[in-house]
Amino acid sequence: MERSLLFDEEHLLHELKHYLPAQSPLKDFVHHNTLHAFQDLKFFDAINKASEIFGYKTSFSVSEYRERYANGDIKDEILCDVIGRLKGKDKIDFWKSKMLDEPFETVIDKRIGQLRENWKKHYRIDLDAQVHTNLFRLLNSYLDQGVAMWHFPVHSRGFLTAVRELERQSYVSLFKTDRARKMFLGGHVSMEELLKIVVGDERFYEAYIFDQQFAHPGWSGLVAIIEDNPKSLLVIKRITLKELIVLELLFEIDALDHQFSDIWAPLSSHLSQPVDLFKSSTKSAQAEVLRLWQEAMEWSFFDQVLLGMKSSVEVNNIESKSFQALFCIDDRICSLRRYIENLEPNCLTYGTPGHFGIEFYYQPDGGKFHTKVCPAPITPKFLIKEVGKKTKNKKDVHFSKSTHHYAFGWLISQTVGFWSALRLFLQIFRPSLSPATAYSFNHMDKFSELTIENEEGAALVDGLTVGFTVTEMSDRIEAVLRSIGLVDNFSPIVYAIGHGASSVNNTHYAGYDCGACSGRPGSVNARVFCFMANHKGVRAKLKERGIAIPDETQFVGGLHDTTRDEFSFYDENSLSVLNGASHARNVEMFADALDLNAKERSRRFMSVKTKGNATKIHEKVKLRSVSLFEPRPELNHATNSLCIVGRRGLTKNLFLDRRSFMNSYNYQIDPEGKYLLNILNAAAPVCGGINLEYYFSRVDNQKLGAGSKLPHNVMGLIAVANGIEGDLRPGLPYQMIEVHDPLRLMIIVEHKPDVVLDTIQRNPDTYNWFINEWVRLAVIDPDDKGIHVFADGAFNLYCPVTEVLRNEADLMSLLESSHENLPVLTLNN
């Protein structure tokens, strides 16, 4: 067949994949920028364009902003300042009156779908209604990871081959008519051939395929992800987006043939000009007003933060006596560190990505697979195995397939059925841990062993080295310690505490765990990190490299469950007597800190009263992690909006309301920004990805988020849908984002502006995040405390508009009295 000039299949598929949602199967849920496809544009141009093409709502509506203004969340003086900066001081009144008073008919029109709308208009046929159900069913059955009892009966290399084999060897057909069936069975059918039949004019092909696939972005996106990363499924399935499109086109031909008895003209015969989906847009006044509102809302918060940083007091590197503790940079840890420091003023806490700089696959004892426990983009070469696991996974008959069998089911429903009633009763009145719970402490058995050190000559497993050599260990430990600025003054105990989460009836559980560990709890990483840092050979090597860790210093790994606010520690037995004793004291202190932290968190839960005894409140908070009926076991990253890269002193006296990622960093030992670059290379995409996923799921929870989770139905263990015939729903469910304010992340770095400018330009990918304003960047100059904000490729001095921050002497009573976001406060420590 002649190749068409206008239609380039490969290009189309590439483009299509670029715009489709890129969410992995549930078990590997990792946050990412929902509109990643538009990231080469400036933020506001991008969201405008996305809205015009796909009909997404990409910010609050004007009336929502006005409401925020009316209740004081958006401050008038900031609003004026923002207009002044962006539009000129003389335009303030003009824009302000537009923003506040002008009526805007907010209508979100979209270009996607317009072409295929013509099926209804000219043919009175609802193609989607006829095609989707069967198509989704086939896809789901083929990709299913273990819901169905009878697995897709053909196990062959690809989706179409398997379906074709199924169809060929069957008395009943998936098709209603002959033509499509014959074409399908005939073997190779090209997209172009099919498009010729369905669409006709090749000028329409591209828009048609976009329309068709964006009628079910959930499935198409998942297929594209699995095509590129088949290992995201445990039971590996080969499928391509092209196969999906071919099958869908065949089904469309089938439906049309069936309806019109083979006599119908291709769609384009009724049309003259194709829609240009991606044509550049004109900037409307409304878009400009929305931009100003968004900026004003963001600065209403950031302004306070920057003022707070400016007025922060230098905390000298105290001669630390008790302990040092490394935590993840996660925004959920921020308040816990505050309580620990309050209860033990002689300690130092640090933040670093929760995989603790060690990248590997982890295989639990008895596990048939291994799982990645480091940031998703990294492909590790190492494997660490667990051996000597003591506990066993419990079973639950309710998930057993035999309950669906007619004969066993008959027996089971009359016996187990009554047990179910009792179970339900207990789970409602006394919720407790069950096999259905995703329990963070189960990730690794507390008393098992890990194969961390590489034994020379050990065989590769699946192409992976088992364990690390001493040099490999030392490199990693050194990098982490230097990046957080912990190179001397080691205290006798250094904790490294990963985090994970526990929940039940939560399909998005992976998103609650540590993002730096690919959506797994960070226990293994913490323990591995400590093993390495305690290793004699490593210590010796580190000493050579200028980091002298005293012999009495011992590293202790642990896991913090952010839902339950519980700690668990590993290898405590190896502590010296002296350290053992102080560790025991610390554990008691941690327990108090965790109580207080749980109490602070509880203020966001309407169903828990925050007033009262912290331990009692903590118990209630814990119950949420095992309650079947609790759609919000914790609030995860909701309200995140900051990432601070600097010494703890910057934030120690500030109350940031658990809204900040915190990466420890000491500019003094990194004058050239070498470690800073590494930090930003990770922080921009990871924290930025989390932040933007929350942002977009919040502003358009229907199209960019997953909607309410209450009606969700699990499809093939890989995704959720509404009901049984709906499209998959990527994005975050309503219950995760409802308290989130859609602010873009601001990264604040403590360093000289020129060093930071030079640093970020070294990696174009990272620089892209900042220059296109998907993540904001500010620098606090350690010398003069000047604030510099990055815009259009340069740092500009910024003077906070807010004059003074409220000082709060009694934080607890404030926390007890409010469910809402609190302003930035200064604290007396």
Partner: protein, 622 residues
């Protein structure tokens, strides 16, 4: 004991009313009220059943209120209690209590919190009316309540396309069951010459005496019972609605479609068992239906890769077996099986989101490549055929579409030419002529009089068919349905004894509902500059009050038990002679289509994705 019986119906009714009155934002009060009412119900039920068991544990029948009485006809509310009621009462109260407690947290901050509890209480009311009903008329009230609450819960997420589409779909299938009930009631009148109570059905001598004369009646009535029961319990060939009903919040799916609603068909069969006990044809038929359902349900469940559909189909297959148990006369086994299945499936649905955590972990540790299934040893072609058929749910869903929806639409489109003007132009004069004929029927030949009822009811049917397929004018649809009732009234008036008073009973509700609905439509049309019908409009987003009024009007016009029309419908049927099968068919078909047209109208105008795009809207396919 007897005087306490109404409590079990009044209490849920009270709960429903209270839940309507509590303001929307008072989440705690709303859920507390619901929990309090259901707890009280459970508590009283336990005490009641305890003392009833201590006593003689005999069947109890109470004639509560006589709503209408003339010579030879009596419409009364009747309550009944026996061990079947006891089991359904306890299982229902236990599950509803647990689900309401569950939902008070689960639904927290969900828009529609109040709507959810209203609907749950409404459902619970309907459930209790059915299980306590002592005659078919009373049961039918509950039957209608259950159908409507199902519709409302499936369409809980009323701004999305699929829930609304599926709600309409399920409602239309339910409608078949409703007509089964109506026809069963119709022939029962003629068989017993009274509104027979279930208590009397237990009198074997009486039953066999009546059936001796009218064995055909007996079979017909029994088959109608079976039809209604099969629809409500998603038995073959109606199974495909059940998984599609799983659109609401998970706990509502658990209680409705996992547990209580779906077992109501079983209840009807147990309740009417004494009636068809000796009709072996019927019993064999039930066993066959049960077998087919068990097989198809099981096969379909096996290939389902979505968890809720899998649970739905395995529940269906168990209910198939329960039907067999009932047909075999194993009442106690059936009751145990019902309770166990209800508990098991509702729990499985409630924990269904956990299946990801659990099964992925299982797989991670215990993965074995897909196991061989029994069919692997079969010839490939047979194996694949069964797989494909199961994947396509044995075509049950497309069958419903092809054999029900499509023909109705086709019929309706024959009358596409009718406009609002022509309706008035053609039908009003003809109606006047019809009235004159009625007034002077003594001077019209008997042979003409004989066919007139059928002719007029056919005209009524044409009107609703047209209403059902109308794509442009909402008000025309409304008027057509409205007029249909007048034609039916006229048709039946030619049968003796359908007095003016009875006409008033039947039509007064129609008139009130008709006016109310017309006003609501006019108001909406004025605000929105006309109402389109070609796609879902979702006007409830901006006009919840008009939407509510219109729903009430629709219910009134559809003969829902809120106006006298409900009673009137029963009266109408009591006047259709036992040999006027065609008239009965026409009238009942009219009533089915009339309900369909109305619910379609309501859904099109008020539900579904909002036409305006200034707020978040889900993809159609989601």
């Amino acid at each position: 004991m007897i005087q306490f019986l109404p409590v079990f119906v009044l209490l849920p009714f009270l709960g429903f009313l209270v839940s309507l009155l509590i303001p929307k934002h008072r989440e705690v009060t709303l859920s507390n009220a619901a929990v309090a009412v259901v707890s009280l119900q459970l508590f009283s039920a336990l005490i009641y059943v305890f003392f009833w068991l201590l006593g003689d544990a005999a069947m109890i029948n109470v004639k509560e209120i006589v709503l209408y009485k003339t010579e030879g006809y009596e419409f009364f509310i009747d309550l009944f209690f026996d061990r079947v009621t006891a089991v359904y009462l306890l299982v229902g109260a236990i599950l509803t209590l647990m689900i309401t407690i569950y939902s008070r947290y689960y639904l927290h901050r969900e828009t529609g919190y109040k709507r959810f509890f209203n609907t749950i209480m409404f459902f619970y009311l309907g459930y209790n009316i059915i299980i306590f009903s002592g005659n078919l008329e009373t049961m039918f009230i509950g039957w209608e309540v259950l159908g409507l609450s199902s519709f409302l819960l499936i369409a809980f997420y009323r701004d999305r396309f699929l829930p609304v589409k599926n709600a309409v779909k399920v409602f239309s299938i339910y409608r078949i069951g409703d007509v089964g009930m109506l026809l069963a009631m119709w022939l029962s009148h003629h068989l017993w010459h009274e509104n027979i109570t279930f208590l009397k059905l237990n009198n074997a001598e009486l039953v066999s005496h009546h059936l001796l004369e009218h064995s055909a009646f007996g079979v017909f009535i029994a088959v109608m019972f079976l039809l209604s029961a099969a629809v409500k319990s998603a038995q073959f060939p109606f199974s495909s609605w059940l998984p599609r009903a799983m659109e609401g919040p998970t706990p509502s799916s658990a209680i409705f479609y996992g547990a209580l609603s779906v077992h109501i068909g079983v209840f009807l069969m147990i309740r009417t068992f004494p009636f068809w006990e000796n009709q072996y044809v019927v019993r064999v038929l039930i066993v066959f239906m049960g077998l087919i359902t068990a097989f198809i349900g099981f096969q379909t469940a096996r290939v389902q890769s979505s968890i809720k559909a899998q649970i739905a189909y395995s529940s269906i297959s168990q209910i198939g077996i329960i039907f067999i148990e009932v047909a075999l006369g194993l009442e106690i086994l059936a009751l145990i099986h019902f309770a166990g299945n209800a508990f098991l499936r509702s729990y499985q649905l409630l924990v269904s989101p956990s299946v990801v955590t659990y099964l992925i972990r299982e797989q991670f540790y215990n993965y074995v490549p897909p196991k061989a299934v029994a069919e692997d040893s079969w010839p490939k072609k047979i194996k694949h055929s069964i797989y494909i058929m199961s994947l396509k749910e044995w075509n049950l869903d497309s069958m419903m579409f092809n054999y029900m929806w499509k023909p109705t639409k086709k019929l309706g489109s024959l009358f596409q030419f009718l406009s609002r003007r022509s309706v008035f132009l053609y039908f009003i004069p003809v109606y006047i002529v019809g009235c004159l004929l009625w007034a002077y029927q003594s001077s019209v030949p008997v042979s003409v009089i004989k066919v007139l009822p059928l002719v007029f009811s056919l005209i009524g049917l044409v009107l609703v068919l047209k209403a059902f397929t109308e794509r442009k004018s909402a008000r025309l649809t409304w008027i057509l349905v409205f007029l249909n009732h007048f034609w039916i009234a006229l048709a039946v008036s030619f049968n003796e004894m359908f007095s003016l008073e009875e006409n008033v009973i039947y039509l007064s509700g129609v008139v009130i509902a008709g006016l109310l609905g017309y006003l609501a439509l006019s108001r909406l049309a004025r605000i929105e500059n006309g109402i389109r019908l070609d796609a879902f409009q979702g006007h409830i987003y901006e006009h919840p009050k008009i939407g509510f009024l219109f729903l009430m009007a629709c219910l009134g016009l559809a003969g829902f038990p809120i106006t006298t029309t409900f009673l009137g419908e029963d009266l109408i049927f009591s006047h259709i002679h036992g040999d006027q099968v065609w008239l009965a068919a026409c009238v009942s078909l009219s009533l089915i289509v009339d309900g369909l047209a109305l619910i379609r109208l309501y859904a099109r105008i008020f539900l579904g994705p909002h036409v305006k795009t200034y707020h978040e809207k889900a993809h159609r396919s989601s």
